[in-house]
């Protein structure tokens, strides 16, 4: 039995046709790959500052159904429900941190594309630097060894 036999509720009803229309429209304009935001029935938040925060926060939260999409981009119903949640919390005057905390309390750190730097995320943040140092060390050693070798076009001092 496959362990992946779990259902993920699909595209939000009614918006599928709209998405296709938008995608076709974007395609026709010769902009393949242009970001197509998921659409909600709610429209924009009136306050532009809140709308900007809404767009930023939803782009920073992972849709757990699609995993490589943010909830800003995803059309599954869970993403739509989570956008509604973010929107309501913003309108209720909640801070960004409070909204991120709400999400991680329920879905874990994995829900954040950009997890905060703390002891348990140290490996994620530190790994690139560790690899950089290890790589630099290897290059240094190899380069030093090579510099000790005689160049090909130089006559060798020793017996051949």
């Amino acid at each position: 039995m496959s362990a992946i036999a779990v259902c993920r509720r699909g595209i939000v009803r009614g918006s599928a046709a709209l998405m296709i229309a938008v995608a076709v429209g974007v395609g026709a304009l010769g902009m393949p790959g242009a970001a197509v935001r998921a659409l909600d029935a709610y429209g924009q938040i009136e306050d532009p500052a809140l709308q900007a925060r809404f767009e930023h926060i939803t782009s920073q939260l992972r849709c757990l159904v699609c995993q490589n999409e943010s909830i800003a981009d995803s059309n599954v119903e869970l993403a739509s429900d989570l956008r509604r949640q973010v929107r309501e919390m913003l309108l209720a005057g909640k801070s960004d941190d409070a909204i991120y905390a709400f999400m991680t309390d329920r879905y874990g750190e994995f829900v954040r594309f950009n997890p905060p730097l703390e002891p348990k995320t140290l490996l994620i943040w530190g790994a690139p630097f560790v690899m950089l140092i290890v790589g630099a060390g290897i290059i240094y050693r190899v380069a030093r060894q090579r510099s000790r070798l005689p160049l090909d076009d130089e006559p060798s001092a020793g017996p051949t």
């Binding site: 259902c7 429900d81 874990g108």
Partner: protein, 179 residues
């Protein structure tokens, strides 16, 4: 010596990483729940087949119970239903259903046709209870102890084997724990 050992160590490290990362049995979608060990989120919803009846897990205080998240749109839930019926017949703990992203009429038909293993089924109209529980698919099954703490979460269809192996020992432990 180093010339041999270093690449060998690197090889072993990669092999271990791949053995873990490429293991076909590992469900990359199954995420650890941050709810484990925490208080189960409270909900007060209506009964799926009777909108006037309240279903709340606050009433289950002091009891070990199971919360099973399902929906009629979910094929894997249909697959799970027979096992759930068998598990319900064991009468070990109350099984509370959480009908998620669904329609009442469809859910009612489902329960009439496939049988109803649930003590009660709460109807999550707008998915808010599911968000509180960190649900991101179905079926998902939670075990809550007598202190109202989430003890275990199982993602994907439950079977009687999984019930015996994962749930029964935890239920017994929860009961021994003075709950």
């Amino acid at each position: 010596m180093w010339k041999f050992l270093l690449p060998f160590a690197a090889f072993i490290a990669l092999a271990v990483l791949f053995a873990f990362g490429l293991n076909p049995k590992r469900d990359i979608h199954a995420l650890p729940s941050p709810l484990i060990g925490k208080a189960a989120p409270l909900f007060t919803l209506t009964d799926v087949s009777d909108p006037t009846r309240i279903v709340s897990n606050a009433d289950l205080k002091g009891q070990v119970y199971v919360l099973n998240v399902w929906g009629t749109w979910c094929g894997a839930c249909r697959q799970e239903q027979e096992a759930l019926m068998n598990i319900a017949n064991l009468k070990m703990v109350p099984i509370i259903g959480l009908d998620y992203m669904d329609e009442r009429a469809k859910a009612k038909q489902w329960l009439d046709q496939l049988g109803n293993p649930y003590t009660a089924v709460a109807f999550d109209t707008d998915g808010r209870t599911a968000i509180d529980w960190g649900v991101y698919g179905a079926p998902e099954t939670f075990l809550v102890d007598g202190n109202g703490r989430v003890v275990y979460k199982f993602i994907s269809p439950i079977t009687t084997e999984i019930w015996q192996r994962e749930f029964v020992p935890r239920i017994e432990a929860a009961r021994r724990g003075g709950a």
